[in-house]
Symmetry: none
Subunit: 119 residues, 4 copies
DNA sequence: GTGGTCTAGACCACG
DNA sequence: GTGGTCTAGACCACC
């Protein structure tokens, strides 16, 4: 279901929540969809269930999902705006890296060349 | 001398060491140049001297600088290769972010537009 | 757990890291073993926790261990090559001292006698 | 006159004083011999004269030489005992390194083999 | 509980 | 004045 980079320096729970956000952003999970249960996901990923719970808590805090006690976790109804914000974050992060290149002396043409060569 | 992003989630000492690496990469600091002293830099940045030393320790471990006890910190002699490696890292990091955009559905033209609008 | 030479002129954190390297080299600590926690070690050695952390940082930079934030410090997986290099260093250091004796006029037999008397 | 390891991690003044001690131990400088003047030595080594003075001060503190104001520095008269002590230090330093090998699991025969192969 | 960061302030060694 | 070490104690993030 999810592919995680276990060698990442980022905390595991963020790896999980980010992977799920990606699935929401690209439409794999849609509004009102039920997410896998904490137990089943922790089992299939072979990790502690507390870590999965922390990931879901993160998604809840960030407004992507909500929990219905005793039933499970669901993707929220109106997430279009949130998804746009999330996409903005990713774009800004791209711009930051572009700025790093700028600081190293790359001009616009140099950067566009890198994009063309690597897309 | 240095411009730091104090709102970053990254530790302060890494902000400092990364800022100095950028100055080395863009030629502001050249091989054998003397870096600002730990105490003077900590004073001008209004931070603890231990934090600056931690930043310099990082730069030393990564091979960019060396210390002469009682004299000061200096940029190493042969850093061309290291600078190339570091630049590669930054470019790859840019490519990763570009890939994130790709996964969100941006095509090459979209991305080039972002570059043009934000450079 | 560790035996330190507190009268040494070398910094305390290096005494600690070197003592741990010896334990890794002689097999007391094996790959993937968990090292004593920073706080527990600092307590049992009656020294500040920052000093122990500096020792562990040194071991991390030298490639012997890695840290898992919130869990603990662990001996790295593939350290055979590193251990061989480290052993070479120690042997070379022994040879250097042997050479000092040679320069003072000791011949091979004299030196072997010292070894026999003091092993 | 003197050969120094400028890349050493040890302070320069100790490099100098140790080099001179070696020359005393091997008989190049004998009791009552005049040492090179601070000025001439600092010039021929291309280093600060304060550093040479610090080295001579070290030798004076350790009892190898004495200064005759206005005339120069001279090797002391009765240095046999001191030379023996100095040799003991070097031998003990050798024993320490031998002990390092012991801690790594080398037995007496192993160590003697290293001596035979490398003398 | 774990490691990681940061501060404040002390003392030492070197040039 | 320089860097280097060490302590004491604080707060945070993660599991």
């Amino acid at each position: 279901m999810l592919t995680l980079d276990l060698n990442s320096s980022k905390p595991l729970y963020l790896e999980i929540s980010n992977a799920i956000i990606k699935l929401i952003l690209n439409g794999t999970f849609k509004a009102r969809d039920k997410l896998p249960s904490i137990r089943s996901l922790s089992k299939s990923l072979s990790i502690n269930h507390n870590t999965v719970q922390r990931a879901y808590l993160e998604l809840e805090h960030r407004g992507f999902i909500y929990s219905q006690s005793g039933k499970g976790m669901y993707v929220k109804d109106n997430i279009e705006k949130l998804c746009l914000q999330e996409k903005s974050k990713i774009i800004n992060s791209f711009k930051d890296k572009m700025n790093d290149l700028k600081e190293l002396g790359f001009n616009q043409t140099n950067i566009i060349d890198i994009v063309k060569e690597n897309y």
